[in-house]
Symmetry: C2
Subunit: 324 residues, 2 copies
């Protein structure tokens, strides 16, 4: 949760004057989203979300993210879209930061994940993947193999050991193993636009049905199956750490109603899931040691992802994921 930038009413009124929604009658910081400052706007034309992009987002990449939301929405994916001002621009500046107003998406993210949620997640994710194939822009995944190695090198040498003795060697060894086994793109293992951060707080539901996806600021080009592997980690483990094969089975089978998986994609899942676990283990480890005390964001425990990584290292057959 985070609101980093305090927006004055004068600055906001000047900013809002570029839009056609009439007077802004309220603006409240939302305690959600870790990377950016988000505000709920109430206007004469209804609610909107105002986002100020803070330092972890590269301004040069914003056109990719905002353009993606537009492209996906046009292609039938339910997601927020950037609002254009009367000058036709969606991206402008507020309080010295890049800023955009995006449409309000109804629904709430689920706090207790059920297999029914996974059944809704699958088609939503597959729909995103299918629609993303026709998106014209590309963005490399900065948090893949090379990015993991760089991030681990930038993390304080004793950080991993302080969290769990032996963790440094485990990560080093695993990074080497992933480097050797990481798959190559091929027609059987298609790459495309992935969300790359589709945790439950980025998937909204209303009346038990998925009402849309939010927060595309990690989106990039990578294996589509890698996005499923991220969801496998984020949606299919119970709070106690056990893997719920029923949830995974529902995720896969519902996904395949929209985009069937190739044999190569299924076979790659164990290694992709290890990579996905490594990605979040490393960013959480980095944040764990680099978040100053008193910061508004509480860092998440990296060990959750160490546990998931170890689970996938033990998978010898995709039947462990409920796949055949």
């Amino acid at each position: 949760m985070a609101v980093y930038t305090e927006v004055s009413d004068e600055d906001l009124a000047a900013f809002g004057a570029a839009y056609d929604f009439g007077e802004i009658i309220s603006c409240k910081g939302i305690a959600e989203g870790v990377e950016n400052s988000n505000y709920m706007l109430q206007t004469a034309a209804g609610p909107f979300i105002l986002t100020l992009y803070e330092k972890r987002v590269n301004p040069a990449e914003l056109p990719f993210f905002l353009g993606l939301m537009e492209h996906l929405a046009r292609s039938g994916v339910r997601c927020p879209v950037p609002l254009k001002g009367r000058d036709g621009e969606a991206l402008r500046t507020l309080c010295g930061r890049p800023a955009a107003i995006i449409s309000f998406l109804q629904g709430m993210w689920p706090r207790r994940i059920t297999a029914e949620h996974c059944n809704e997640l699958g088609p939503a994710l597959a729909g995103l993947h299918r629609a993303g194939l026709s998106y014209g822009m590309k963005r490399a995944n900065s948090l893949s193999l090379a990015g993991w190695r760089e991030l681990f090198a930038r993390t304080a040498p004793d950080a991993a050991e302080n969290i769990e003795p032996g963790l440094t060697a485990l990560i080093s060894g695993e990074l080497e193993a992933l480097g050797k086994s990481w798959p190559q793109a091929s027609p059987d293992l298609p790459a495309g636009v992935i969300h790359a951060d589709l945790f439950p707080d980025n998937v909204f539901f209303q009346g038990g049905k998925c009402s849309g996806l939010i927060d595309f600021y990690f989106a990039c080009n990578d294996f589509l199956a890698y996005d499923i592997a991220i969801c496998l980690n984020a949606w299919c483990f119970e709070a106690g750490g056990t893997f719920n094969i029923t949830k995974a089975h529902r995720l896969f089978t519902s996904y395949e109603t929209v985009r069937p998986l190739s044999a190569a994609e299924k076979a790659a899942l164990p290694i992709l899931a290890r990579g996905a676990a490594m990605r979040f283990l490393l960013t959480r480890l980095y944040d764990w040691v680099n978040t100053p005390p008193g910061a508004m964001v509480k860092p998440k425990d990296p060990r959750e992802y160490l546990h998931k990584l170890n689970f996938h290292r033990g998978v010898t057959d995709i039947s462990a994921y409920g796949l055949t």
Copy 2:
């Protein structure tokens, strides 16, 4: 800023079913308010605020606060009102905590205070004081003389010294001086319901006009002029620490258009302002040393109120406040 309690969608739906506003289509934690968890609800009938009362609010006192909002609104004060469910109840339980839904108040609190804001604040505060006189319930001010002494006794002995050498002796001496000089209630120095926390983030403006007051969870019975003294501290000092006599003058003169001040009230202002500065100095000092690192609320620097206290200790004549 704070959201302490994570409300699940199932719990929220069950809670919302007691009301007539139709489906809850969104619920987002608001990064405002320090004592309670606040959420912005979007419903078929428009926006509302959901408040979960956290541990610093005594549940036994909630009927006083909620009843006050109703009474004030009925008396013409612009403020949110608790929404009643179909059972006629405003106060119920959510996630094991007392909870209420209150109406949505348009407007935004001002980030840069001008004399014009103070000119709007005065009549709003006086209107609250006048309307509060006919409120049937009473609540003693737990943060007056006896409460300050108790709070200081509960604060770690070295806390004040660590912040500013000599501060312990200054506070002790000042508490003694306040004890000797604190006024007695009299017809000339009327007591009644005060807001007791009317900082800029609790006063909303729209188009330059005050659109209402929020957050009545410190309201209590005390000298009405003490509430003005709190505002004097919260609204009339510049960020650099200088006292802005123009803002104070506008606050007083606009207040008096609704409720004229007696000579006794004016004469008591320097001592009341010292007490008001002491109250926030002590709570900030307590929070400074008792807020754990990594807490979601950043404690505010107590020295701001030490500075204000020292200013009022030097006031020998109410002309220093722009009063005659």
